[in-house]
């Protein structure tokens, strides 16, 4: 599965469009991490726990998007975008979406 935020992949032709596919996940912060982050807010710097959390969440959103595209029979997702929305204090939704297409070639 080719996943890209380009509109066209150079050298490859789009032979079929399957429409929009998306994947999302809602994540909440861990209390322990929250307390640690509170302390880290005094000295500043990277909040590694949160970085990992966001990374995992995006990974999952992308995987869900890919699963949807696969069920349609697509071999690529183009024009991928991400969106993050905070739903409540400490909880956020991460959304990945793009266009499922069939590209010619291998």
């Amino acid at each position: 599965m080719l996943v890209s935020n380009l509109e066209l992949v150079p050298g490859r032709r789009i032979v079929a469009h399957y429409g929009i596919v998306q994947g999302s996940t809602v994540r909440a912060k861990h209390v322990g991490k929250d307390i640690f982050a509170g302390l880290k807010n005094i000295v500043g710097g990277e909040l590694k726990g949160y970085t990992e959390l966001m990374q995992e969440a995006r990974q999952e959103a992308v995987e869900r998007m890919i699963a949807e595209a696969q069920s349609m029979g697509a071999n690529a997702i183009l024009n991928v975008r991400f969106a993050t929305t905070s739903i409540a204090a400490g909880a956020a939704e991460i959304l990945a979406y793009g266009s499922a297409v069939q590209l010619d070639g291998p």
Partner: protein, 163 residues
Amino acid sequence: MLDLIEFGLFVTLLIVGFFAGTIVEKRHYASIRKREREYADVLAFAVRFPPDRVTPQRAFLVHGTVVISSDYFKTFVAGLRNLFGGRLRTYETLMERARREALLRLKHDARRQGAKLVICVRFETTTISTGWAASIEVFAFGTALIPERDTGLAFGARSALPA
């Protein structure tokens, strides 16, 4: 008495925030500069289409993300500045560090998978609220391209870059 303790705590946090924050920021900038030199051979562009002579063999999504927090002192100064308006220098450096860090991680991701060219780079910034403190997330993503023949010529854009 209680007020005095509270004030003492506030001043202590301010002092700790100032010194620790300054050290953390200096170290981070040093690390960013060092890695920016290391990753100078990975090119990242915001353009939507690849340079003419690049015929990619493989295209895939690469990304880098960082959550970074301001320190107590900076947040306090920014709060004061907010009364009068104008530039919040303390937050400007925070945002800059986060963007450069996210871009570096994107380049790391690209190189790890054997790519030296990333196009269509986009940034996304999210505010992560943890009470009164300012912490932000910067997410950088783009499409890495691996050309069929990795000749110097393939990167027509390189000559346009400042040395």
